[in-house]
């Protein structure tokens, strides 16, 4: 049965797509190439333009500028119901007066698929989303996770080459969300459809995506694999938004950079930008033990202001000499946990010190 399932994906090419509401740029000119079959996540805070970009892809929002291609076909003038794109809405938007089977069969009915074929394909897709036997359930009888699966089935049963998902897990609780993340990836892998997934949850983006596009204030900040985004953020915004970070402003000093009158040893050379920041992940800052300075490490003097026990770790807040607060995360197995008010030396190894530019 499953042999019929793979629908394949199609490449998406966006050229200079832009959208303004009144005087405000909801999306600045954006160019993006999404290979066929990729799982791309649009990640950003609310108002970052991620939903606007998704709605332009779906056809519900008309871009002011730019071009959009699905494969070779230009689609930026096509109305949404002719784009043949599957879409999963934030609140699922299931038709509440129809059964599960009627919901899923709706796109097939519109395409004039025959009754028998319809039933076969509904059963097929229900088995893919692990909801065998749910055909005659009413929508109101479904749990959140089941409704999510039905929405996914309805958006893929007509074998679209592109699947758009608008924060589909935001209404679920944490446990179900973790489970559905794995499920959605599994279904993506089974169908091979090009998937654009919108979320504001950085953890979700890291876990699920082939690539992530991080947006802020209407502009794409960085596109890359989860690992690239986490370990090599290009801007202070990305570094701060993905995982907690200590972001320290730097001053350019010839070839190098300084923080609070101290030369900084860093992994990369400073990028070409006006505003420069040092990124130090809380788990990479170490309390220096006694007087033996590690080679190739930055050392900062600081005073401990607060210690929080968080179960699997301590979060230690410390004020640097110029007053800036940083957070240090250390394991509960640490030998010598400093006390509040204690003066400590913090070490950041050169390979953990990244220089990024300010937000564009």
């Amino acid at each position: 049965m499953d042999v019929h399932l793979p629908t394949g994906g199609v490449e998406i090419t966006a050229r200079d797509l832009g959208k303004r509401y009144g005087g405000v740029s909801a999306l600045r000119e954006t160019t993006l190439d999404i290979p066929a079959g990729e799982f791309l996540t649009l990640l950003g805070p609310s108002g970052s333009g991620k939903t606007t970009l998704l709605m332009i892809l779906a056809g519900f929002t008309r871009p002011d500028s730019g071009e959009l291609f699905f494969g070779d076909q230009p689609v930026h003038r096509l109305p949404p119901h002719k784009r043949n794109v599957g879409m999963v809405f934030q609140n699922y938007a299931l038709f509440s007066h129809m059964t599960v089977a009627e919901n899923i069969a709706y796109p097939l009915r519109i395409r004039g698929v025959g009754r028998a074929d319809c039933e076969k394909r509904v059963a097929e897709i229900l088995s893919l989303v692990h909801l065998e036997g749910f055909e005659d359930r009413q929508i109101r009888q479904l749990s959140g996770g089941q409704a999510q699966r039905v929405a996914l089935a309805r958006a893929t049963v007509f074998k679209p080459k592109i699947l758009l998902m608008d924060e589909p897990l935001s209404a679920l609780d944490k446990k179900l969300r973790d489970q559905m993340q794995v499920e959605i990836r599994r279904i993506h892998n089974a169908l091979g459809v090009t998937t654009i997934y919108v979320t504001h949850d950085q953890r979700e983006a890291l876990t699920m995506s082939d690539r992530i596009a991080v947006l802020n204030r209407g502009a794409v900040q960085q596109v890359g694999t989860p690992n690239e985004i986490y370990t090599s953020p290009k801007t202070a915004f990305v570094a701060d938004f993905i995982g907690g970070s200590n972001i320290l402003p730097l001053v350019r000093n010839g070839e190098g950079v300084r923080f609070a009158d101290q030369d900084i040893l860093a992994l990369n050379s400073p990028p070409d930008a006006e505003l420069l920041y040092l990124v130090a992940r809380p788990e990479k800052l170490m309390f220096s033990s006694s007087g033996e300075p590690a080679l190739d490490a930055n050392r900062f003097s600081a005073i401990v202001t607060n210690i929080s026990f968080e179960g699997d770790s301590y979060a230690v807040s410390a004020a640097l000499t110029n007053g800036r607060e940083v957070t240090v995360r250390c394991a509960t197995t640490i030998r010598a946990l400093p006390k509040e008010g204690e003066i400590v030396t913090l070490e950041l190894a050169r390979q953990d010190a990244l220089i990024v530019r300010g937000d564009t």
């Binding site: 519900f60 043949n84 599957g86 934030q90 609140n91 938007a93 038709f95 709706y106 958006a155």
Partner: protein, 276 residues
């Protein structure tokens, strides 16, 4: 806001006076509305409460009077026409208001509910002048126009409130699945608003049957509606037939409301409801 926890902060002793107030208010409100029911079964020629002998003679008198029957026929046909016009027009107006910008929507809403905000007598006077001018006094057409103006705000308000709690993303979902905008409305929106449409139609019907003041002015003599004839009869002589007709009115109104409520509640259990 309201929760069972909140209740407990007022002790039962303190709540006693609230209960008393409420009971007094309720008795005061119910008495005049329902006193006609026992009166209508009186056998006496005079109004009696409580009736000394019971009989159904005033019901017989109503059903055997060709004048009352004629008035009833006029009321019913006007009400039916009113429903057929006010329901689709009111739905389309509400849909337009729900989908347009908030500013345009609130201007349109203000104008549509104007006849319910202005004194009814003023609307009736205006309607009388307009219909005189158009030569439609004492016609069912004229009466229907008057009643549509009165019924439309009810339909509009019911449909607008239904559309406001309706999840338009379902329409959007249908479009994303390949349906045209029109087909999405027909396939998805209308079936889900079924119950509200029925409610709106029944409200339009009742508001037309119940309307007296416009009828008073624009339908006289043999074109009188039932409610107009009741009012006129009462100001002339005291005729207990009125009590019988009032009781029938109550019966019909309450049945309609009960039916709407029951189907409304059932719609929470079976498909077709607007909740989700």
């Amino acid at each position: 806001m309201h929760s069972s926890n909140n209740d407990r902060q007022i002790s039962h002793g303190r709540r006693a006076w609230l209960y008393l107030w409420t009971a007094a208010v309720l008795a005061f409100l119910v008495a005049p509305s329902l006193i006609v029911i026992p009166m209508s079964f009186s056998a006496s020629n005079l109004l009696e409460f409580p009736p000394s002998t019971l009989s159904g003679r005033w019901y017989a008198s109503y059903f055997s009077s060709s004048e009352w029957m004629r008035a009833t026929a006029i009321s019913l046909s006007t009400a039916l026409l009113t429903v057929l016009i006010a329901t689709p027009v009111g739905f389309l107006a509400a849909y337009a208001v729900a989908r347009t910008t908030p500013r345009l929507g609130s201007v349109a809403t203000a104008i549509i509910v104007l006849p319910t905000i202005l004194p009814h007598i003023v609307v009736a006077v205006g309607m009388f002048f307009v219909l005189s001018w158009a030569g439609l006094i004492n016609t069912i057409t004229g009466l229907t126009i008057g009643h549509v103006v009165v019924a439309l705000p009810f339909v509009f308000v019911v449909m607008l409130s239904a559309l406001k709690s309706y999840d338009f993303s379902q329409e959007k979902a249908a479009v994303s699945l390949g349906a045209s905008q029109f087909r999405a409305v027909v396939d998805i929106t209308l079936p889900q608003l079924k119950m509200s449409l029925v409610t709106a139609a029944l409200l339009a019907f009742i508001s037309s049957i119940d309307e007296v003041i416009i009828s008073m002015l624009v339908s006289t003599g043999s074109a009188s509606t039932l409610s107009r004839r009741m009012l006129v009869s009462l100001t002339d002589v005291i005729d207990p037939t009125i009590a019988a007709i009032s009781t029938l009115f109550i019966l019909v109104t309450v049945s309609v409301i009960v039916i709407v409520q029951l189907t409304g509640n059932r719609s929470a259990l079976v498909p077709g409801g607007t909740e989700r």
